[in-house]
């Protein structure tokens, strides 16, 4: 039975009111004083947000978007100095307020939602008192505050608020925690609501429902919403208008959809072109990159801050600061050469290729992995069958608890599978533990980690890191090692200078290149890449993805690519496997999986992820939480959240493996043709599909049994 909810909320169309803007930032300049020297972080930022409007500030690290947001609520570190300009909220200048005035301002007029909701809640106090506090501060007594808190929690769609009242933060999931934070923020019915990366760190399906909630609340209140994000998709899905920041300046501003469809600034253009959009693949073209790298925070910059990396730069850009030119209704852009934007061509090069399926490189049969933790057995992987061919990229997609990291670690030999599972590399058995494998096998399977910061030994130089890997994995000695290191460096576009530096002196992108070079030191057959670009800025990500494609084409390496970013997966992966609670739900060629028909979970996942191209066609919002792997639901593990749940069938028996087309398999009870029809229907109709109540009841029943 499918569940259908009310029609999707529309983003408020904002007629420009005559009243004062809720938030008005005028030429704000701010510096951080480090060791006595002031380093400029904001260089004259100006924008305004009207009541009821939502404005997104987007940019890469160090652009100053967070600083701007925190400046608006006067929550700045002690060494921050506002060197010019002002911030007006409903007419009051925030920069000139005394501490007591700031406190009242925060109490009544401004609220904030944070990036890490778990850390934003006091771990030793129950939820109830924390939410109620937001009301007692406004003058309500204990009883009134209690009632208000319950109402606030209902408003953010928390079922059973009384129960949540008595819990501690660590007992709630990330999505629930964020709803609590939002509830507290709305307590004062603020004029300004600031959201600082509110969904970074949340699972995709959870993120979607939180974003929906924000949209709904935005429509209900008249607050001005300022959203900070580095993810353009999130901005697109929530914000009416957007300001693109670079090095402490807003370089382009305007209606979100318009800016993302037709950027009018070289930086915005470069940024959008470096994203894998609209389903492009590595075999179609390389991603555009922005040459150079982000400026150091607080560095002295020429008149146009972007000039050192801009393909259109001329002399005037160095000396005359580009004013915000009007490029359309409500749109501005700070560039002297807007008319020449067409000159920036997309890269013609193609560095990837569609793989022709080669030999079988890796097979996994019936691989399970159960962790034993203080009495519980946690099955992280359950009967996984997998194949990986030479030269192809298999994308692994899934949310927390899906088991994708465990799968990667098992293949690498960091974890050993339960008895009964078999792994084969090139027709010969692969030892469970990496330590026991022969050097040949160790060379063949290597890893690129998510966080380049921790992946490289900060005490070693890049050269030493690579040289050690080369000599240990290949057995080469002396000059041969140096030669190989030089070749690896060249492949990854690292200079001799880079090699002599320590990780601390390298940027994130450069560090990741060293990490990739290290993985390729022994000429591996398979490289496991665990979120290789998640910790990197967008413009850097493109270069890394291009390099990965290039290396794959040249060396015929297979990749096991783990990523939560479907754009990246669609770009790089030839085949995709979707995992949920340690099981593979669907696997197939990438285009087939993206096209459909899909497993309901995949369908929901594809619908959940906000893209910079606008809302996906079908709207599916899963309710409920991802179940704990320690206590998996019976039958089809997805049934507790499935919007196509069939009562009496899905919770009873495990679904069979059905073939959608050759090479495309999934585990579902619903016949393929039926799925195809229903999913096409969902795409055409403008309804939101959600988890039906029967499924949620089943979830509650399981949770009640769970002692944990």
């Amino acid at each position: 039975m499918t569940g259908i909810a009310e029609p999707p909320p529309q983003p408020l169309a904002t007629p420009p009111p005559a009243s004062a803007a809720a938030l008005r930032v005028e030429d704000l300049s701010l510096s951080y004083v480090v060791r006595g020297i002031p380093r400029p972080v904001l260089r004259g930022v100006s924008f305004e947000v009207r009541p009821g409007e939502s404005y997104g500030l987007v940019g890469e690290s160090g652009c100053g978007k967070s600083t701007t947001a925190y400046a608006a609520v006067r929550y700045l570190p002690r060494n921050a100095v506002i060197t010019g300009g002002r911030i007006l909220v409903a007419g009051d200048d925030v920069t000139k307020m005394t501490d007591e005035q700031v406190r009242r301002f925060r109490m009544h007029h401004a609220s904030m939602v944070y990036q890490d909701p778990g850390a934003a809640l006091n771990p030793t106090t129950k939820i109830g008192p924390q939410v109620a506090e937001a009301f007692t501060v406004l003058g309500q007594n204990r009883r009134e505050a209690h009632a208000s808190a319950l109402r606030a929690m209902e408003r953010v769609q928390i079922a059973d608020p009384e129960r949540v009242f008595q819990r501690y933060p660590h007992q709630l999931s990330g999505g629930m925690q964020q709803r609590i934070v939002i509830a507290m923020a709305l307590a004062s019915d603020p004029k300004l609501l600031v959201l600082d990366e509110p969904t970074t760190g949340l699972d995709a399906t959870v993120e979607a429902s939180v974003l929906d909630l924000v949209r709904k609340l935005q429509a209900e209140t008249n607050a001005a919403v300022l959203l900070i994000a580095h993810n353009l998709g999130v901005i697109r899905s929530i914000c009416d208008r957007v300001g693109v920041m670079y090095a402490g300046k807003i370089v382009e501003e305007g209606d979100a959809a318009a800016v993302f469809e037709q950027p009018k600034h070289p930086y915005t253009l470069g940024l959008l072109r470096s994203l894998p959009r609209r389903g492009i693949r590595k075999s179609q073209k390389a991603l555009a990159t922005i040459p150079g790298s982000l400026p150091q925070i607080g560095a002295d910059l020429p008149a146009c801050v972007f000039v050192d990396r801009c393909p259109l730069a001329t002399e005037i850009c160095r000396t005359v600061e580009p004013p915000p030119f009007d490029v359309g209704p409500g749109r501005t852009s700070r560039c002297h050469h807007i008319d020449r934007l067409g000159e920036i061509v997309e890269p013609a090069a193609v560095v990837g290729q569609d793989t022709v399926q080669g030999d079988l490189a890796l097979t996994l049969a019936n691989v399970s992995k159960t962790f034993h933790q203080s009495g519980h057995d946690v099955p992280a992987l359950v009967k996984v069958d997998l194949t990986l061919f030479d030269g192809e990229t298999l994308g692994l997609v899934g949310e927390s608890g899906s088991g994708k990291s465990t799968l990667a670690r098992t293949i690498l030999g960091i974890e050993s599978p339960d008895v009964g599972g078999e792994m084969e590399l090139d027709e010969h058995r692969l030892d469970a533990r990496s330590m026991q494998r022969p050097t040949e096998d160790k060379r063949s399977i290597q890893m690129v980690f998510q966080n380049p910061e921790s992946a490289l030994n900060r005490g070693w130089t890049a050269r030493h890191i690579l040289a050690r890997s080369v000599s240990k994995l290949t057995g080469l000695k002396g000059k041969a090692v140096n030669a190989r290191v030089d070749k690896l460096a060249a492949d990854l576009r690292l200079t001799q200078r880079h090699l002599d530096l320590k990780p601390r002196q390298l940027s994130g992108g450069l560090k990741q290149r060293v990490a990739i070079a290290r993985a390729f030191a022994g000429d591996p057959r398979i490289v496991v890449a665990d979120e290789p670009t998640s910790a990197l800025d967008v413009s850097v990500q493109a270069a890394i993805l291009n390099l990965l494609s290039e290396l794959q084409t040249e060396n015929k390496t297979s990749y096991l690519l783990i990523s939560h970013d479907l754009g990246v997966v669609r770009y790089l992966a030839d085949r995709i496997a979707v995992m949920y609670l340690g099981r593979i739900m669907e696997v197939g060629e990438s285009e087939n999986v993206f096209h459909g028909p899909n497993h309901p979970y995949t369908e929901a996942l594809l619908s959940a992820i906000p893209t910079v191209d606008g809302e996906p066609a079908a709207r599916i919002r899963l309710e409920g939480e991802i179940p704990s792997p320690a206590n998996p639901p019976s039958g089809c593990v997805f049934h507790t959240r499935c919007h196509r749940f069939i009562q009496g069938l899905c919770e009873v028996t495990e679904p069979p493996l059905i073939e959608v087309e050759p090479g495309h398999l999934m585990k579902c009870h619903i016949p393929v043709d039926e799925l195809r029809r229903l999913q096409a229907k969902a795409r055409q109709e403008d309804v939101v599909l959600t988890t039906p109540p029967e499924a949620l009841e089943a979830a509650a029943a399981i949770a009640a049994d769970d002692p944990g």
Binding site: Y75, M107, A119, N122, P123, T124, E133, V137, V181, A187
Partner: protein, 316 residues
């Protein structure tokens, strides 16, 4: 929580056993000849042999070890070489007297140190903070007998504010007793001020920088309200831990203080025992103090665990 407590108790028992074993090794394995050690190099051989016979040190080590463990369990540490009387009651009584002194020292230092730590944390990197940290580092570096000496010279002899010898006349009332104990207690309090203040400061700074403090301030709470409701209970956790550890060090430093101020507590008893090579007395002293330390850290661990909802609500 129950499981946590049970586990800690078992570990504590294991540690106690190891402690006793270490002491046994020092007193029975290290000396090549116990009798000779006690009587010194000039005593005649027959006297030494007779003593060894009497002490039973000629028996095999495993036997003596088991006997010492048995003694530990039944709380029988033997008789003093000097007085011939049972050792444990004397030690316990002495520890009790020292506890008065130590207790007063803690009473003085804990509120002051915590207050100083909080004060410093809120004014981080400003002059007041640097001064407090410097003061803490300096004071905690000075051995108790040095502070004791200086206090005696300045306060006791020079200014004549307080009595120099710590032992009050018999049956003195509490205020008088405190007056006598004040100087030595201060000597000890000064040393521990540094540790506790710095730990409080560190814990508070960490909490002040946390996200949930930010949330509280963003709700519009005053700094006072934020400190009371959100900061304090989280910041004092490391302080509880360090106080427990200091209790262990206290009973070390108290020996020197008791010597200077001529106080008949555990320190003097141990010194006397050392001078007269009264091994049973010394052994009992070490083990009793070891137990005191273990109890202190166990209590601290339990308090800290109880304050952490994750552990407190742990499903059995």
């Amino acid at each position: 929580m129950v499981r946590f407590i049970a586990r800690r108790l078992i570990l504590a028992l294991v540690t106690l056993w190891l402690l006793a074993t270490i002491v046994f090794i020092i007193t029975n394995v290290l000396p090549s000849n116990v009798g000779r050690t006690i009587l010194g190099p000039f005593a005649p051989q027959e006297t030494v042999d007779a003593l060894n016979e009497k002490l039973g040190t000629n028996r095999p080590l495993p036997v003596r070890y088991l006997e010492s463990l048995q003694g530990l369990v039944t709380l029988d540490f033997g008789d003093s070489f000097v007085s011939g009387k049972a050792v444990l009651p004397q030690v316990v009584a002495a520890v009790g007297r020292s506890a008065k002194l130590a207790g007063l020292a803690l009473l003085i230092t804990i509120p002051l140190s915590i207050a100083a730590g909080l004060y410093a944390a809120r004014r981080r990197d400003q002059r007041a903070d640097r001064a407090i940290v410097l003061l803490g580092v300096t004071l905690s570096s000075i051995p108790e007998f040095v502070t004791g000496t200086i206090l005696v010279v300045v306060v006791g002899v020079g200014l004549r504010w307080l009595p120099v010898l710590a032992t009050a006349p018999d049956n003195a009332d509490i205020p008088t007793q405190i007056r006598f104990l004040l100087l030595p207690a201060m000597a000890m309090a000064i040393v521990y001020f540094g540790y506790i203040a710095r730990m409080t400061r560190a814990g508070t700074i960490e909490v002040l920088q946390s996200d949930y403090t930010r949330t509280a301030l963003m709700k519009g709470l005053t700094t006072g309200q934020t400190m009371r409701r959100h900061v304090l209970r989280n910041a004092l956790v490391p302080t509880v831990a360090v106080i427990a550890v200091q209790i262990g060090y206290l009973f070390g430093g108290i020996i020197a203080v008791e010597k200077i101020f001529n106080y008949n507590g555990m320190g003097s008893t141990m010194l006397f025992a050392a001078q007269h090579k009264d091994l049973p007395m010394l052994t009992a002293g070490v083990i009793v103090i070891g137990i005191v330390y273990m109890l202190a850290t166990l209590t601290a661990d339990l308090i800290i665990a109880w304050m952490n909802p994750r552990i407190r609500l742990e499903a059995t």
